[in-house]
Symmetry: C2
Subunit: 384 residues, 2 copies
């Protein structure tokens, strides 16, 4: 039976060979604590982390290596930004397309710190009207946080409107780039971002256990640490150091994972974000065009292909999505994800709550043949 | 030149072959999001994590798999326990031998939540008199937190006194087992612990990016999440689920690392904690006995070998510790760590603040020959 992976929005699979080799090389030949021991191997581990910071800074045009921190995943990155910035009584604006990695920490802050949340409604395709954000801005608005692209419908949200927001507020702008880092060009400095949360194991092709935050200079100064501990710096102090990246990176880092992420960034650079994006969107277009020919299939998200990333949610009339996903795997060897994709808000916006959708998400390693096969299978299932 | 690694208190090196292979196998052949996709590979990833939980439960005799959570390292584990339990006005007791992974989050809580801290002084060998803890207990005492063994002097703290503490208080007992998990038998249930923080990459022989918390049933119920986000469970809810382990594990976990940690636990089980401990202590005894013959060398920590783990801090009169560590690496190929080892409190207790010590820490892969070589080099350096 075939084995086709269409769940790249969850994690990219396969990983490039150089990523697996970099992790292996680290575990075999280095394996020392970076920034702690002064011996050669410890310095080598420190160099791996610094180079990964350089590559991230370069990919997103971030302000400086010191303003890039590594975290266990993008969820931690977004939590660190929100918990590190929002104080009691602050107001935050977000959208109705967010993942639980944004809405759950906000609900916690609402409860624990009396943070006020405004959730701007996106339309039924998941599209955000930037003027709706601006309408919610008030003097107490401390942060605006939204996803760059929905992990449910693939809808891209308007990052190009950020400079306009800046005309109305000094609030920190936080972007959840979980679904876009590596496939859509992001210019941190030009966009006027304060925080960009990225994950290593999706479209940056790194291993799980990696992610991070790019911070503007003012954000790096303002953020308070959530997790404190040994940093290998200012070890004479019982308080967390107040400088980045140290203040945000406590304990022994996942250097094996970061070595793999660094190789993933090399893979991105060798192939080019643009080429990767074009390939994924070609597959997405073939898929959506094919789906439109199949009766009973409903496609969610924008009609225009350029308003999407390579994630497509569908439902099939008169079918149970969980059962279909199971059959796709067991009978046809197609791996996708059904359900709510950790985004109850997104599904409510799209009108697919609480049943959920079937989500297909393509990566750079998927082929046209795989997509055609997927379409044929869906056709077969929809006709039953 | 030789290449001898004596920095196992920072991270164990080398890693067992099965650990490296498990990580590689995961990245090559699985690489799916556990607990998210319902397809075969996703279930396989979930199985890897569940098995690792079983092995941790078994190693420490924890209450149940659900009460074991994985974290990026032990620093996060200890932060989660402290931040998740201590509320404004609570009192916490700790010791003067703690790592910054305990004292820094406590200093943060002191500032942000008005938590009151009592630091019980250990003696000049780093030894804790348990009655000094009991003297500090008061009605507002919510937690007692201490390290199982100092990462500076190797001094073991009296875990056997925990049941006695329980006669005086209902406070949560938190143990930092960073230096002992894998080398000293810990019976979680018998000890009366509420939280045990462990790290994966030290004496459990796993990769970096791994660690966790074992929680008692009452601790698992009481703990509040610090980081919120997608859990792959109750995805219909905008709030973090209130059950363990999900409430404490947000975002995509480091399954590659956990696969490696699971293999590290197999390595421990195959060899036996007891055998590992005996080997390390044999090396430690040879080292300390040898050091005693070298004039100018001062050894810190307990005199009795059974009151120690395999970490030995020394100073050499009339020498600069940083320079000595550098020469040990460059001229003799010996990797150790000088300085304050992220424990200003510990060094103040031992009387080695702010100059620090040379720290030698032995692992299961070190040999008697290596220790003898180390002794000869120290002799040479001390005679200069």
């Amino acid at each position: 039976m075939k084995s086709i992976y269409f769940d790249n929005a969850a994690t990219s699979n396969p990983k490039p060979k150089i990523v697996i080799e970099a992790v292996q090389d680290y575990l075999k030949n280095i394996c020392a604590s970076p920034g702690r021991g002064g011996y050669g191997l410890g310095l080598e581990a420190g160099r791996i982390i610094f180079e990964a910071r350089e590559k991230i800074r370069h990919l997103f045009n971030g302000p400086s290596e010191e303003n890039i921190i590594f975290t266990p995943n993008v969820t931690y990155a977004l939590n660190f930004a929100l918990l590190g910035i929002l104080k009691p009584g602050d107001h935050v604006i977000t959208t109705s397309m967010e993942h639980n990695s944004v809405i759950r920490p906000l609900r916690l802050l609402e409860k624990n710190r009396n943070v006020e949340i405004s959730i701007v409604k996106c339309n039924k395709k998941g599209e955000l009207d930037p003027s709706d954000i601006i309408k919610e801005i008030k003097p107490s608005t401390k942060a605006i946080v939204f996803t760059h692209a929905s992990n449910v419908s693939g809808t891209i949200l308007p990052v190009e409107s950020l400079p306009e927001f800046k005309n109305h507020t000094d609030a920190f702008i936080i972007l959840d780039a979980a679904q876009t880092a590596g496939v859509i060009d992001i210019d941190f400095e030009k966009s006027g971002l304060d925080f960009l949360g990225f994950t290593g194991h999706k479209a940056l092709y790194g291993p799980p256990g990696t992610g991070g935050l790019v911070m503007s200079r003012r954000a790096g100064k303002a953020i308070m640490p959530t997790i404190c501990g040994g940093t290998g710096s200012r070890s004479d102090m019982e308080f967390q150091p107040d400088f980045t990246p140290d203040k945000m990176e406590a304990g022994t880092p996942n250097t094996a994972g970061i070595a793999g992420l660094s190789a993933g960034l090399d893979f991105i650079n060798e192939n080019g974000v643009d080429k990767i994006h074009k390939h994924e969107m070609k597959l997405t277009k073939i898929f959506i065009d094919g789906l439109k020919q199949i009766p009973k299939v409903k496609i969610y998200g924008p009609d225009e292909i350029e308003k999407r990333v390579s994630t497509v949610s569908i439902t099939i009339d008169d079918s149970d999505m969980g059962e279909l996903a199971f059959r796709l795997d067991v009978e046809y060897g197609i791996m996708i994800r059904s359900g709510l994709h950790c985004s109850p808000l997104g599904h409510k916006t799209l009108g697919t709550f609480p049943e959920g959708t079937l989500r297909f998400s393509f990566g750079y390693f998927n082929t046209e043949e795989e997509v055609e096969y997927g379409l044929n299978v869906i056709k077969e299932l929809a006709q039953e």
